[in-house]
């Protein structure tokens, strides 16, 4: 963390970024960040780490990846929580979540994809076509998955621009689906062994499993503190921690998040919070939010509410379940991975009662006053499942606000009115 400014431009040029476009992006993100994050009062001191990470999001972290590659390592890009990071790490790779949280190069994207494609897919494609994501440019392999029709067809097109490997995810969770998924993990190992030149060993996989579990445990601690009233950390800050978990150095991230968790536990003990005790507490459930998509959290918290939990892939689905560390053989360790990863409750599964149960359980644990269902427009699975979520939450006495949106800012005015009215309703 030296004070002298580092010139990353030669590195970005080597990676093949479009420097002019990239400069634009690097002007926009700090503004968004300052407006959403730095304007907050009473943030935990430990969040300074994330301020630093965000200021170096395309700098220092990329330098680390480039150095890692120079030392013979690989970088593997992913889009989804179903891709086991443990396998990537055990084979000497670094797993990075790819850029997909802002509208970028849509003019180019819409030459390939229909306009009514969800923002996540369009954005992922846009960052690649616009050559502004150093993560995807660093990646030796990009792993896609078949979690929806839009993604699985988009990967075919993305494959023309980047080395893409697609994992097939089952759509049900029966024993035969688990068996299939277990085999699919073997196929992933085979592919990653080919790309990394390394062979998967039990010891390396156990070590990686332990490290990634520790990362999840740290996030569990941080999030557990949010059950307190007043909430010791904003929803925005907690969301950021999970967003960064996708691409930061694992042991360093774990250490920093544990420090924040220590601080939050002290805050809870002394009754210190970021919002008043009567601020309406909102649980957000739905589709993932990648950096710099802080839109809905920002609206809720600027309107006087506090987000206390996220039932989403950039939330509890990322950290709430651990991989069993009890295996004694490589086979056993792979079995444990298969079981854990198939247990994530995405709307791409049918039925998906587990998600409903999680929403209701979390609403209770985090003392939520209401549920905000967040779905990206054109995401059929989540938009349809919203009906079930809404019905179940209302039956449990929880008011629900359904928000279908995208990464643009054009609906912020309308959305703010709806969110404010929802908070008025929760307060009354």
């Amino acid at each position: 963390m030296s004070d002298a400014p580092v010139d990353y431009r030669p590195m970005w040029t080597d990676l093949g970024l479009d420097l002019e476009a990239h400069d634009l992006l690097l002007t926009a993100i700090p503004q968004l960040y300052a407006d959403a994050y730095l304007s907050q009062q009473d943030r935990p001191e430990g969040m300074a780490y994330f301020d630093f990470v965000m200021s170096e999001i395309h700098g220092l972290r990329i330098k680390e990846l480039v150095d890692h590659k120079a030392a013979g390592g690989t970088v593997i890009g992913t889009f989804c929580v179903y891709v086991p990071e443990e396998i990537i790490r055990a084979l000497g790779g670094v797993s990075v979540g790819l850029c997909a949280g802002a509208e970028w190069a849509y003019d180019q994207v819409e030459q390939l994809l229909p306009r009514n494609t969800c923002a996540l897919i369009k954005s992922a494609m846009g960052f690649k076509l616009g050559k502004v994501c150093p993560y995807v440019e660093s990646a030796d392999l990009v792993i896609g998955e078949t979690t929806c029709d839009g993604k699985k067809k988009a990967w075919e097109l993305l494959g023309e621009y980047a080395p893409v490997y697609v994992m097939e995810l089952p759509q049900m969770k029966r024993p035969q689906d688990l068996a299939f998924w277990r085999e699919e993990l073997d196929r992933l190992v085979e592919k990653l062994e080919e790309v990394t030149g390394n062979t998967l060993t039990f010891e390396a996989l156990q070590k990686a499993t332990k490290e990634v579990n520790d990362k999840r445990r740290a996030l569990q601690r941080l999030n557990a503190a949010r059950a307190a009233s007043p909430a010791p950390i904003s929803g925005k800050d907690a969301l950021l921690a999970v967003q960064v978990a996708f691409y930061d150095d694992v042991p360093r991230f774990t250490e920093m998040v544990n420090k924040i968790a220590d601080e939050l536990e002290q805050r809870v003990a002394s009754g210190k919070g970021v919002a008043t005790a009567d601020a309406p507490r909102v649980l957000i459930t739905g589709t993932p939010m990648s950096v710099p998509n802080w839109k809905v959290h920002d609206i809720v918290e600027k309107a006087g509410g506090v987000v206390v939990a996220e039932e989403m892939c950039t939330g509890s689905r990322y950290y709430d379940k651990l991989v069993s560390e009890d295996a004694t053989t490589l086979e056993g360790a792979m079995d444990a991975l298969a079981v854990k990863y198939l247990d994530v409750n995405c709307a791409c599964f049918t039925p998906n009662q587990g998600r409903i149960d999680d929403v209701l359980r979390m609403a209770k644990e985090y003392k939520a006053d209401g549920v905000l269902h967040y779905a990206l427009q054109f995401c059929a699975t989540y938009q349809i499942e919203a009906t079930t979520v809404e019905r179940s939450a209302q039956e449990a006495g929880l008011p629900v606000l359904r928000v279908d949106t995208d990464y643009s800012m054009e609906d912020v005015g309308q959305l703010s009115t709806r969110v404010e009215a929802f908070l008025e309703m929760l307060k009354a």
Binding site: D411, G413, A421, E424, A428
Partner: protein, 264 residues
């Protein structure tokens, strides 16, 4: 206590002055291109102890006049509940948005729905269509009422519907039947919102849309019952904002109890 409730909307700026809980005066002014200037004119009109702003420009008004704020949703529920204490739902068709609100006795919001970022199903939709006819909204509504039937207009997108309407005119469809079809399209969309929030009668119709006799007739037919039209429908939000302001200082309690009825 004197309270001014201001509804700074996209098409009009509406005001209600309350004195010791009773409405003393109201006003509806065209928002023009500078709604905050129009609001300033209203603020200067009478001395008040407190200003409460609602509507699209509520936050700007809060900053400028030191007003308290309440959303349109909360304000309309309070206003409707004052005008019709037995009412349990409100439909507001405004210039740029349409909302339906289900509320308990005293105007406590239980659920609501609001259109998103497009003009489908709003007053603006009918304005654009009237322009395609070369008449004003009132004339178009009269034609719709007098029509001997209707032509289905399938597109709810304001832009596509305009092309559809022009196409229908070219095909020689009578204007009155198209006009009725357009009003039916707006009402159809509204009714599905009413069903989604499980709106209960009696239903209050407010906002500029409530001045449109064709919409009133079709909404009543759609819910199979009577619609309570606010006497001064554009000021319901401003009235609610003023009532909210009066209650903030410990005046009359906002929420009172009354029996519930079945879904619409």
């Amino acid at each position: 206590m004197r309270v001014l409730g201001l509804d700074v909307g996209s098409r009009t700026v509406d005001a209600v002055w309350l004195e010791d809980g009773a409405a003393a005066e109201s006003a509806v002014l065209d928002a023009g291109f500078a709604p905050q200037e129009v609001a300033a004119e209203l603020v200067a009109r009478r001395p008040v102890d407190r200003v409460v702003a609602t509507g699209y420009g509520r936050h700007a008004a809060a900053e400028r006049f030191g007003a308290d704020v309440i959303t349109e949703i909360g304000a309309y529920a309070l206003g409707a509940s004052r005008l019709f204490p037995e009412a349990r739902s409100i439909l507001d068709i405004g210039g740029q948005d349409t909302k339906v609100i289900l509320f308990a006795a005293g105007g406590k919001v239980a659920d609501f729905e609001m259109n998103d970022k497009c003009a489908a199903g709003t007053g603006r939709f009918l304005e654009v269509m009237a322009r395609a006819f070369g008449v004003d909204v009132g004339e178009m509504a009269e034609e719709a009422i007098a029509a001997d039937g209707s032509v289905a207009v399938s597109s709810m997108c304001t832009v596509f519907a305009e092309s559809e309407v022009i196409g229908l005119l070219h095909r020689g469809e009578p204007r009155a039947r198209i006009a009725r079809g357009l009003h039916e399209a707006v009402v159809r969309r509204t009714l599905s919102s009413l069903h989604r929030v499980r709106a209960r009668p009696p239903l209050v119709f407010a906002g500029g849309g409530a001045r449109n006799a064709a919409l009133v007739e079709l909404v009543a037919a759609g819910i199979g019952g009577h619609v309570l039209v606010a006497p001064d429908p554009q000021t319901v939000g401003a009235l609610g904002a003023a009532l909210y302001g009066a209650a903030l200082r410990g005046a009359a309690p906002l929420h009172q109890q009354a029996p519930e009825k079945e879904d619409i």
